[in-house]
Point group: C2
Chain length 326, copies 2
Amino acid sequence: MLNESDIIDFLQTRFPALEGIGDDAAILSLSDTESYVITKDLLIEDIHFCRKYCNAESLAHKALHVNLSDIAAMGAEPKYILLGISIPNDLEGFFNDFLKSFAEACEIGKVHLIGGDTTKSLDKLFISVTVIGLVKKTHIKLRKSARKSDIICVAGNLGDAHVGFQALEHNMQGQGLKKFKDSFLQPNSRIREGLWFGERSEVSAMMDISDGLFIDLKKMCRASKVAAEINLDNFEPSQEFKAACHALNLDQTIVQLTGGEDYGLLVSVNAESYQKMKADFSSTFGYALHPIGRIISGIAGEISFTQKGLPINIILQPFSHFRELS
Amino acid sequence: MLNESDIIDFLQTRFPALEGIGDDAAILSLSDTESYVITKDLLIEDIHFCRKYCNAESLAHKALHVNLSDIAAMGAEPKYILLGISIPNDLEGFFNDFLKSFAEACEIGKVHLIGGDTTKSLDKLFISVTVIGLVKKTHIKLRKSARKSDIICVAGNLGDAHVGFQALEHNMQGQGLKKFKDSFLQPNSRIREGLWFGERSEVSAMMDISDGLFIDLKKMCRASKVAAEINLDNFEPSQEFKAACHALNLDQTIVQLTGGEDYGLLVSVNAESYQKMKADFSSTFGYALHPIGRIISGIAGEISFTQKGLPINIILQPFSHFRELS
């Protein structure tokens, strides 16, 4: 099966002049100082979501925020949205609830719905969202510009959504699991953080973490033609996370490295400015920016690991929720 | 089941300030003189197309041109495209061919592919295309501005695609049917004509004909708060069309009035300028602009018919190819 990298390679060969293919969003020049960025994500029933534990409200929230997250990752502010939806006949009630929740989520996110398409489907729900954002040209962040010696940081938790997904799949109850289930069902894009990183020249590259840290960092490194070293000593999860992983028989480090759909932001930061930026970030957002490693020279896209100062080998099998492309 | 009008009504209530909802494309201001227009269409297997008689090349062409047609209908020039596609595992060969044909069709149409999303699907192929066009603000044509006494005209044939669809569905052979099958399988958007109409101030309103003349003219009249009178004396189809309708046991006038997916352009033209414009159109494009009736005052969206100078009642049941929303 062709994977997304093959497709992007094909398209880049075919359309060599285009900036932005393979990034979180494509860039359309607006003026000397501003650009539109535009992204499009598909959500397919039983591939990306499952109605048995995803109600209309959650789905509307997620359909919006997975797209807003791509806009955030460019350092842009979301402005306009187009909604394409294909609905089976027996889902009229669900669709009404979805549309109402989607409109509310757009209002909260200050995104204006400007168009779209609705059509019938045979049996599965199919959602296609296009979001257009606005960004100052000097604030655009790409994934191809991480530089050797940069500190790699993450804004947001790692692995929470995967823990929530596993809890839902295994029908596990318990108050301690609710926050993880919510992380999976209703992820929040980090628009404010994306805009904040966009304003900082010490942020050399940015993308959102949708497929899991390991895969996404690999993509950033490939695009930037650098390698990265992840320091596992930096992965100290919360007690709740440890307890949830224990209850679900999951390896907490593996989940943090490979669990997808968290929609945090992955940034590479100039090492000299890192300490000040980390402090500024905490005081602005009320939570810590996590350092997870650094950019090194090496084979483009190669990720290595260290623990207690020593290299360590880890074999990773990225998780794939439902039946997504590997 | 909610239909598209209900959804548009809901969205317009929810987002009253937005221009363009319910038009062929939404409008995004670019500068004092120019705007982007943006449209999004879904193509769902066994709803909008059927792989038993639609190969990858046809599908790629159609997926592009149904969207380009919306851009044409705004008087705009298509510029950028995003492709979302969801593919079942067993269709790798089809997908490769589709992507190659899609890239070629984009090159021919001078549209730049700037992004998108690819994902797995369980069993059906889903395609979602977003096209962005560029237009001078003074050239934008909407469907809401048809005026009483305007002449209603069509650029393109009426009913050809429906005849082709019926010939394919009933597995009818014969050289005379090929052109109709092609009209259904590989419709051509009318970008040049759309740009030409955009430059003319005597064109008061424009939209593309995707759902059939009767339905689409009704939409234009509703949006413009006018009624229309269709003169059936103007419907004189070609010998080929008559022969094909006869072979397929179809009423030629009904097919012309209600057959969808022709992707011609429907325009309302100031009556005083009409004769000159019609002559200019023919000399520019080498085919005739068809007058089909006129805008009258009356209940918004009401369509009446005349024949040989007398009113005539026709009960129309719009066709729905495959299982599209009625």
